[in-house]
């Protein structure tokens, strides 16, 4: 009895080892492994998919129009007709939440991704090349960081004008410097590591060392920065919208909805509550997914 049990655990251990050092992994295998090790991450993954689908299929999911005013039913409480109530213009909050997701998800993800790429590349160049490249890139980053990010975003938005593309650009310019700083610090540490030296010894060029040996080792940090940047971007956008610089009413974005709902917070809290919960859910989902990805993608994090 005891022996069979022992044997079974041995077999399980064998299987685990095989799965760890098996052939090239397909996406499905990756998800399966993640499901075994980190269930929250898989749930988060499906939450994100669901949100994207909901945003994409918004017109099919709701009988109301995004900007369909109904002044007779303004500020009504949640009911079977309006699941999340209506806002100050009598517009269905759930509908606006779905349409707002289109803007807010994009504003969360796209600038976070762009600033990540820009910051990682510039940070790695600064850290690895050193010298003049380092001085120039990091001084520009310092200048960016010296201004309060809100002020900087406002200035850029004023200069560029409204529109979603300009919001992307602005948020990217505001966020890249942080990423660059962190990546540079990591690169400095990795540059003198022995495996980089070993790569030099087999004749790998500097650019390739940066691409293949240094940046992949920064991945854990990058994923964390990415998940933190998403809610930050959504919130900055909401402030910009509030100041009349971002997404313009009557179009919906989650940040804008919170800002307009603020005035009615005392009597109709759901106006703020619904988009607030949506932002929180997005942030948590990306955060958990990031952690889960880290567990399965970074071989050092794998359980032995």
């Amino acid at each position: 009895m005891l022996r069979t049990k022992q044997k079974r655990t041995e077999q399980a251990a064998d299987l685990r080892l095989q799965s760890q050092i098996g052939e090239e992994e397909r996406f499905g295998d990756l998800m399966r492994r993640m499901a075994r090790e980190n269930k929250t991450a898989v749930i988060s993954f499906f939450v994100i998919i669901l949100m994207v689908l909901a945003a994409a299929l918004a017109p099919l999911l709701t009988p109301y129009e995004e900007n369909g005013m109904d002044l007779l039913h303004r500020l009504s409480a949640p009911s079977t007709e309006h699941l999340l109530g209506t806002d100050e213009g009598g517009r269905d909050v759930l509908t606006r939440l779905l349409f707002g997701a289109r803007v807010s998800l994009l504003i969360g993800v796209v600038p976070a991704l762009l600033s990540l790429i820009l910051g990682a590349v510039l940070g790695a160049i600064a850290g690895y090349r050193g010298g003049i490249a380092d001085a120039v890139i990091m001084r520009i980053a310092d200048v960016m960081l010296a201004f309060p990010s809100m002020l900087l975003a406002m200035v850029i938005m004023y200069a560029l004008g409204g529109g979603i593309l300009n919001v992307f650009l602005t948020l990217t310019l505001v966020n890249w410097a942080n990423v660059a700083r962190v990546v540079r610090a990591q690169t400095l540490k990795l540059r003198s590591s022995e495996f980089v030296e070993a790569a030099q010894i087999i004749g790998v060029s500097r650019n390739r060392i940066m691409r293949r040996h240094i940046l992949p080792n920064c991945l854990p940090t990058l994923l964390v920065l990415f998940t933190l940047n998403i809610p930050a971007s959504i919130l900055t956008e909401s402030s910009l919208s509030f100041l009349g610089l971002g997404i313009q009413p009557p179009n919906a974005s989650w940040g804008l909805m919170i800002n307009t709902g603020r005035q009615y917070l005392y009597n109709t809290p759901w106006l703020c509550f619904a988009p607030g919960a949506a932002i929180m859910l997005t942030m948590l989902a990306f955060n958990f997914l990031g952690n889960g990805l880290l567990d399965v993608l970074d071989p050092r994090m794998q359980k032995q």
């Binding site: 590591s193 495996f195 030296e197 010894i201 087999i202 004749g203 080792n217």
Partner: protein, 325 residues
């Protein structure tokens, strides 16, 4: 006919620090004959590794070669542009380090890392590269090569990682392999296996330059030995000659400290003092501060590296005197 794989002549390396320049490698000349294993011994900080790095062309940012030549198979390489040197590294000349734990990239499978060498230096398809990698894994006696190919470094033991490093360095069949303390981090049984492997590689046509402070390792595999002290070569001879008749007081000191252990003496005999600070080298012989037989001349002048018998050179005034007598 040039049968020297590596020919270093009067090599100087200087490192610029905030305060001033130091010269960790001073007027070093050494040869590695084709199909031989040559050792460099010396204490920590005597310039062994710097010499190796200068040969590889991978000095730290503040260091540079000033003076001297390095010839690889008769071809002068110190003056080559960086791009040319990069092509040599990994294909003609390669190196392994003492720390197999940290010398592999933790996030890339070891098979892929070995493959990188092949794909950098030869035109070949993914499948061919994989074939070659597996063949190399078998050659360095990695068991279950197929499985290990897909392992990450942290899943392998120290000995296996060192084998992977050797596979990575050797897969393009370089003419010269520099092994910088290849066994220091490994336990004794694995050490013996790795040394066997190096001998096997030598027999397959690669010359090896071993850098070590372990006299046992040197005695076991090397054909010829250079002893370095404070950036200079102080004695050089074939292994049997050096171990049979160590001549320089420093070399003798090294052997005494090993022998005192072997003969079961209660105290460990040591060389008094420490390696001199490179900023404050004595005016004369750099070993004069620690030498028991130091004379007046030793404190003023640096002795030459002179032949005491055929192919046995020593940098010491005492041996010169013996000749005169």
């Amino acid at each position: 006919m040039n049968d020297r794989t590596l020919e270093v002549r009067n090599l100087n390396v200087t490192i610029r620090t905030d305060r001033r320049e130091v010269r960790p490698v001073n007027d070093v000349s050494l040869d590695v004959l084709a199909g031989s294993i040559v050792g460099i011994v010396g204490e920590s900080g005597c310039g062994k590794s710097m010499t190796a790095r200068a040969v590889m062309g991978l000095l730290p940012y503040s260091g540079k070669v000033d003076g001297g030549t390095v010839r690889l198979c008769g071809r002068e390489i110190t003056a080559l542009p960086e791009k040319e040197r990069r092509k040599l590294r990994g294909s003609e000349i390669s190196m392994i380090f003492q720390e197999p734990m940290t010398s592999l990239n933790p996030v890339i499978k070891v098979g892929k890392q070995v493959e990188e060498t092949i794909r950098l230096h030869t035109e070949c398809s993914r499948e061919e590269a994989k074939e070659k990698t597996l063949a190399m894994f078998r050659e360095v006696e990695i068991p279950e090569a197929e499985t290990r190919y897909h392992c990450y470094p942290h899943q392998l033991s120290g000995g296996l990682r060192q084998r992977v490093m050797i596979a990575m360095a050797m897969v393009c069949k370089p003419k010269l392999l520099i092994a910088d303390e290849p066994t220091t981090a490994l336990d004794v049984t694995v050490e013996a296996q790795i040394l066997n492997l190096l001998e096997h590689l030598r027999d397959a046509g690669t010359s090896v330059l071993i850098i070590s402070h372990n006299l046992g390792v040197i005695a076991r595999v090397c054909d010829y030995v250079y002893v370095m002290y404070a950036g200079r070569i102080v004695e050089q001879a074939a292994t049997e000659v050096l171990f049979g008749r160590p001549t320089h007081p420093y070399t003798r000191g090294l052997f005494r400290s090993v022998n005192s252990l072997r003969e079961g003496s209660a105290t460990l005999e040591t060389i008094p003092g420490v390696v001199p600070n490179l900023f404050r080298l004595p005016a004369g012989c750099s070993f004069s501060l620690r030498c028991g037989q130091c004379g007046a001349n030793c404190e003023k002048n640096m002795p030459e590296l002179l032949e005491t018998e055929p192919d046995h050179r020593v940098r010491c005034f005492l041996t010169e005197k013996e000749d005169a007598e």
